[in-house]
């Protein structure tokens, strides 16, 4: 009887089901955790004012409620984690309040939340708006009435300053840099002794002088604008009465949460999410957006695929279709499979030694010698990081393609050959199209692996903060030598290397969510494409 029950397979079915359920539970749990924490942080919460029994007052957002037994008294007590912000006043962003200490709670309607360029958020009140020290409005009501208009003006001014810095001044300083390199080139060629060489040098010098003059003028204008714009100030007062004056231009966004209706909050939520997706990071990456990191991640994955897929497919075709099957090919195949298991940091160090120092260094000496000793390609960059990852994912593509090739039945090949096709024609017209779904499966796996890798990138070109994107409007548009930002590294950097980890935690969740979403999107695109190819080329009927 017992034996029949066991051999009937029922316990085994339960076991398999249990294992599957466990895996599913962990995945769903992880996704839910990331989703809830990552999506929640942009919602404008109400500001609560707590009056404590010792008479002090605290203003902040309630982030967490915790009930636990007091170690000394053994009594159960409740405490709240309050985000008080105002790092410049208190030094910390969070504090704990015990339920027992609180005597009164309120929601002050005039309380503001300010997102600032520096010091993180401010929670408190704005009591004065001044122009060059002369008050424009000096009570909270008037300030609130006039503030939006002035803030808009300031944002426009900030935009203009940004344009001036990145646009005109940026392009002139780039021209100056190019002229300097030109000058070094002339000197390196040692033709300063000839008449034409001296003429060239003189021309470069004149050009340089004129550029320097333009630069100084623009810089003066910039300084003037900055000084002008900083004349408009607001005076902040915290809940406990400390005051501080702040140029209005340093405020990124401001709102009064306790006065806002739900639709208004939703609008603000959308705006903040959009800023996170499209903006640039501020304050050691703890505030602002992650657009450069999204861009870097996607571009790197694309470059990696361009490098890995063709080489992987060609390798697989050679191994499966052309090479004489024997011990050598078997050994190569085993080696390729094992390469997929090499720790990624090993690839990173290989990339650093081979791509960056050897290949990059040689390129610098041959083509960019005027810029030495500062390296152009001889330092980490998006090209080298992509190639390193391509190396890392190559085995995945090779294995998947080989399996796809092996799955094309012999009869189809014979059919093509019997019609007078050569082996190449058969391969090109029949077998490779039939293998395309398998190739895409390999690509999907490669993308999933590459987009999540961080370790090899840290030594081959990823940085905490890249000054410019690897793709822009200046020739040659795609700057493969530039360093770049990456979401995976961003998570590590913000989560573990930032000066204020507790305040940075929400951004870590949001970035994680984003990275997962991007990998999901890339995979879904590839899967949809694969299904369409399956429908067209599948050899076996489904």
């Amino acid at each position: 009887m017992k034996k029949t029950f066991f051999t009937s397979g029922t316990p085994f079915i339960w076991l398999t089901g249990l294992a599957a359920a466990l895996g599913l539970l962990m995945i769903v749990g992880l996704l839910l955790l990331i989703l809830v924490n990552g999506l929640g942080i942009f919602w404008p919460q109400n500001l609560q004012q707590f009056t404590l029994k010792d008479g002090s007052v605290v203003l902040g957002e309630v982030w967490e409620k915790e009930t636990h037994d007091n170690y000394d008294t053994g009594r159960e007590e409740t405490r709240y984690r309050i985000k008080t912000a105002n790092r410049d006043f208190y030094g910390l962003d969070f504090r704990w309040l015990k339920e027992d200490d609180i005597s009164e709670r309120q929601m002050p309607p005039t309380a503001w939340v300010l997102e600032r360029q520096a010091w993180g958020q401010f929670f408190g009140f704005i009591i004065r708006l001044s122009n060059n020290g002369v008050a424009l409005a000096s009570d909270e009501l008037n300030v609130a009435a006039q503030l939006p208009e002035w803030h808009e003006k300031m944002l426009a001014a900030a935009d203009e300053i940004h344009q001036l810095e990145k646009g005109s001044i940026g392009s002139i300083s780039m021209q100056i840099e190019n002229m300097r390199l030109e000058k070094r080139k002339v000197i390196l060629r040692r033709d300063t002794t000839t008449a034409s060489g001296r003429a060239a040098l003189r021309r470069v010098d004149e050009e340089l002088a004129s550029l320097e003059r333009q630069y100084q003028e623009l810089e003066k204008e910039l300084m003037q604008r900055i000084t002008d714009s900083r004349a408009i100030t607001i005076t902040l007062r915290t809940i406990d009465g400390q005051e501080k004056e702040l140029p209005l231009i340093d405020v990124v966004r401001m709102w009064q949460p306790n006065r806002m209706s739900a639709p208004e909050k939703a609008g603000l939520y959308a705006a903040r999410v959009w800023e996170f997706l499209s903006g640039e990071p501020r304050e050691a990456n703890m505030e602002g957006g992650v657009f450069p990191a999204i861009f870097g991640t996607v571009l790197m994955v694309i470059l990696m695929s361009i490098a890995a897929v063709p080489i992987g497919v060609l390798t697989a075709v050679y191994l499966r279709e052309y090479a004489k099957q024997g011990p050598v090919v078997r050994a190569v195949r085993i080696a390729v499979n094992n390469m997929a298991g090499v720790p990624s940091i090993v690839y990173g160090i290989f990339g650093l030694g081979f791509f960056v120092y050897t290949v990059g260094g040689t390129i610098d000496q041959l083509f960019y010698s005027e810029a030495l000793p500062s390296p152009t390609f001889g330092t980490g960059g998006i090209l080298w990081a992509s190639l390193t990852l391509a190396l890392l994912t190559l085995p995945v593509v090779v294995v998947a393609t080989e399996e796809g090739l092996a799955a094309v039945p012999r009869s189809i090949r014979d059919g093509s050959l019997a019609l007078g096709a050569t082996k190449f024609e058969t391969l090109w017209r029949i077998i490779l199209p039939s293998t395309s779904p398998a190739i895409l499966t390999g690509t999907i796996l490669a993308i999933a692996r590459a987009a999540g890798e961080v370790a090899p990138l840290m030594v081959t070109g990823v940085v905490k903060l890249a000054p410019s994107l690897p793709l822009d409007s200046t020739f040659p548009y795609l700057h493969l030598e530039r360093k770049f930002m990456h979401l995976g590294f961003h998570i590590y950097d913000v989560g573990f290397q930032s000066p204020n980890v507790e305040a940075a935690l929400p951004i870590v969740y949001a970035t994680t969510l984003l990275l997962v979403l991007i990998i999901l999107t890339l995979n879904l695109t590839a899967i949809l494409l694969r299904n369409r190819l399956y429908a067209r080329f599948s050899v076996t009927k489904i």
Binding site: K324, P409, S411, I412, D414, G415, S416, L417, A418, L419, G420, A421, T422, E425, R429, I430, P433, S434, A535, R536, F537, S538, V539, K541
Partner: protein
């Protein structure tokens, strides 16, 4: 053992053959053909003539070498690394194992239909046009004409004319096999090799293919490998019985099935082994 029935034994007893009274000539002559897989001999001193515009059947138990012999005729066995051939096969006056023979051209003249229907994962139209495209034909009207003609010859046109651009994999088994026949005749071969073309089909589809073969033999020479003796008896003009890599008997089909010369043939035909 040599068999040269074209000259020695005119097939006047065969009813199917007598419907075509023109004098039969050999299109393919196989002489002293040996075939080896590595050290193992698979075919031993095969000698026989295949007559033009006739259907010749190869029968015999599994592993007797009938498919191997068929694949020798269009040199499809060349793809097997360890295969080796001795002797010669003359096709239209030339030894096909001569090094100067263009194997691509040979396969264009000797078409093949396989045991398992193997349409390419392409549209119906592209399947039929494939051989022409490989041959470099690009003209759309030529392609259209040939596709229609071939599909009509294969008795498939009426069933698929409205869905030429749909995948060939959506056709039924019998339709797929007729598509493969259309694909083979699109390049206008002189000979069509059929390797158990009906073994995966139901009786109705089989009957249609057999009907088609009788129609096709007006234009083409057909060699068919089959494990169904009834099928050989129904469609073929001549039958060769192979056993352990040797041709035991080769004669007019009716004679093989009614009064075989060899005891072995009789035993096989009456179902005593095989």
């Amino acid at each position: 053992m040599t068999f040269s029935i074209a000259t020695e034994m005119p097939p006047e007893h065969n009813s199917v053959a007598s419907a075509h009274p023109e004098k039969a000539e050999a299109i393919i002559s196989i002489k002293e053909l040996d075939f080896y897989y590595g050290d193992k001999i698979a075919l031993e001193s095969i000698t026989l003539d295949i007559l033009k515009n006739k259907i010749t059947a190869f029968i015999g138990p599994s592993g007797c070498g009938k498919s191997t012999l068929l694949r020798c005729i269009n040199r499809l066995n060349d793809l097997i690394d360890i295969a080796r051939v001795d002797g010669e096969i003359t096709f239209e006056g030339r030894n096909i194992y001569d090094p100067s023979v263009d194997i691509i051209d040979l396969r264009r003249r000797i078409g093949m239909v396989f045991q398992k229907s193997n349409p390419f994962p392409k549209s119906i139209y592209e399947n039929v046009a494939y051989g022409l495209r490989i041959a470099g034909v690009k003209d759309k009207t030529t392609l259209d004409d040939v596709v229609e003609k071939s599909l009509r010859s294969a008795a498939l046109w009426d069933e698929v004319k409205d869905r030429l651009n749909e995948s060939a994999l959506g056709l039924s088994g019998g339709q797929q096999q007729r598509l493969c026949i259309a694909r083979a005749i699109a390049v206008e071969p002189h000979v069509i090799l059929m390797d158990e073309p009906c073994s995966a089909l139901d009786p109705i589809a089989t009957a249609r293919i057999e009907e088609l073969m009788l129609e096709l033999k007006k234009k083409y020479t057909i060699i068919i490998v089959t494990h169904s003796m009834q099928q050989a008896a129904r469609v073929s003009d001549y039958t060769a019985f192979l056993w352990l890599g040797k041709v035991i008997e080769y004669d007019v089909t009716r004679k093989i099935f009614t009064t075989p010369a060899e005891k072995l043939t009789e035993d096989y035909i009456t179902g005593r082994f095989g």
